[in-house]
């Protein structure tokens, strides 16, 4: 099983004092771990229906297609509550994959955490 670490942290958005949940992921998201990891995110989304989410992918070196599918699904659930999702600091190869599959058309990508906060 590929190693993966993650944590959730709360912060407030710069403009509107709106709640933001930052999900920081580290490692490789693949078939061996993504199905165990994803339910935790769903739970967090359900607990924070008033919050936007920033997904920090700086330390993610690989994501399989299922992970992309989960991000797309998280986006649907979060945006259904009128909140935003931003992907932050993704490595260039991850960013390129997300660009090819077209996820960047619906989820904005930020280079820095500051930019992500301003978009969230």
């Amino acid at each position: 099983m590929a190693d993966i670490a993650y944590n959730f942290s709360d912060l407030l958005s710069q403009d509107s004092n709106k709640k933001i949940v930052v999900l920081t992921v580290e490692g490789q998201l693949d078939e061996s771990n993504v199905d165990n990891f994803a339910p935790k995110v769903y739970t967090k989304i359900e607990e924070n229906t008033d919050a936007s989410f920033i997904i920090d992918l700086e330390k993610v070196s690989y994501m399989n297609s299922k992970s992309i599918g989960y991000i797309s699904d998280w986006y649907s659930k979060i945006s259904a509550h009128g909140n935003k999702v931003v992907i932050a600091k993704a490595a260039s190869n991850i960013k390129d994959v997300l660009n090819v599959v077209g996820l960047d058309k619906v989820i904005p990508m930020a280079q820095t955490m500051e930019e992500a906060k301003s978009l969230a």
């Binding site: 994501m63 297609s65 992309i68 599918g69 190869n93 994959v97 660009n99 090819v100 599959v101 077209g102």
Partner: protein
């Protein structure tokens, strides 16, 4: 060379030219090489001629032997027709296509080009066979008896030959591009084992050759029994099948036989995208798959699996459009 033979060559050329215009585009860059395939097809009649000469030699050596009667009594006349005509003719045409593909693999880059190769070898064969038929009828029965056979052979017989070999060509193309077709299936989540690649190659050729032989045999037997209407229906159905195949985008898809353009993405990242495309394809998100394929092909222009996703999505979208 007798005048009958020379004029028979001209007569046999008429359907060959007309049918080649129906199925082949004038501006095709491989026109000259296609002509060589046609010439190869004309030679395929020689072994059959040899067998016929051998058959006549047996009959002449045993004038009292009712060879056909014996075979009919044994009820294997039908089998002989299948075996002799169907298998031999289709097998020889298959070898022409296979030989030229082995020596010039760069020529068959699409399933439709494999179909065209089949069609050309069939046209070459039908051309030679027609010369024999026309000249024999002319010499034995006179020119007045030639009109009906000329009309029937030029339309239905030549068309039937084209269909048998065209259908074979389609399966030959599926066999040649096995790796890409199976990778395409694999990325849709279907189980593909390493041994499936070898098996798929063999099965496709066997299916194509088997279909060509059975269709050819059925055609010959129906003609033998004078069942003209079923023959016309068979040829019509095969014509519709082949023209529908040639319209499909996945059949006209150009496969790259060797990577000429370097990809700007890592293989593992490309695999992630292909897997994602497979999931979306299964969900019927054909527009999305088409868009993803376009973006992937900008980064990896020689990716045949991405091309297959694109062409199959376009085919599905076209089908949906036609339904609505």
């Amino acid at each position: 060379m007798s005048i009958e033979l020379i004029l028979s060559i001209f007569l046999a050329a008429v359907p060959a030219i007309i049918w080649s215009l129906v199925f082949l585009k004038k501006e095709d860059p491989n026109s000259k090489l296609y002509f060589l395939v046609f010439l190869g097809g004309t030679l395929t009649v020689l072994p059959l001629l040899g067998m016929q000469v051998g058959y006549r030699a047996i009959i002449n050596a045993n004038p009292n032997l009712d060879f056909v009667g014996i075979l009919k009594d044994l009820s294997i006349w039908v089998l002989i027709l299948y075996a002799f005509v169907g298998i031999m003719e289709e097998w020889i045409k298959f070898y022409i296509v296979k030989y030229i593909d082995r020596t010039h693999p760069e020529l068959i880059t699409t399933t439709s080009s494999a179909i065209k190769f089949g069609i050309l070898s069939a046209l070459g064969f039908a051309f030679s066979e027609n010369i024999l038929y026309f000249s024999r009828i002319w010499m034995n029965f006179g020119i007045q008896e030639l009109f009906a056979p000329f009309l029937f052979r030029s339309t239905f017989t030549v068309c039937a030959h084209i269909m048998f070999s065209g259908i074979f060509g389609y399966f030959y193309g599926l066999s040649k591009f096995t790796d890409d077709f199976l990778d395409f299936k694999k990325w849709q989540g279907k189980e593909v084992k390493p041994k499936d690649y070898i098996r798929h190659r063999k099965i496709m050729v066997a299916l194509g050759l088997g279909a060509a032989i059975i269709l050819h045999g059925a055609f010959n037997i129906m003609l033998e029994f004078g069942l003209v209407i079923p023959v016309i229906i068979q040829v019509g159905l095969m014509f519709l099948f082949l023209t529908a195949l040639l319209k499909r985008k996945s059949v006209n898809l150009v496969f790259i036989l060797a990577d000429k353009h370097k990809s700007v993405m890592d293989k593992k990242d490309i695999d992630v995208v292909l897997e994602y495309m497979g999931t979306q394809f299964d969900r019927g998100q054909y527009n999305l798959v088409n868009e993803i394929a376009d973006r992937l092909l900008k980064r990896d222009p020689d990716n045949n699996v991405a091309k297959l996703f694109k062409s199959n999505s376009l085919d599905k979208l076209e089908k949906q459009k036609n339904k609505s």
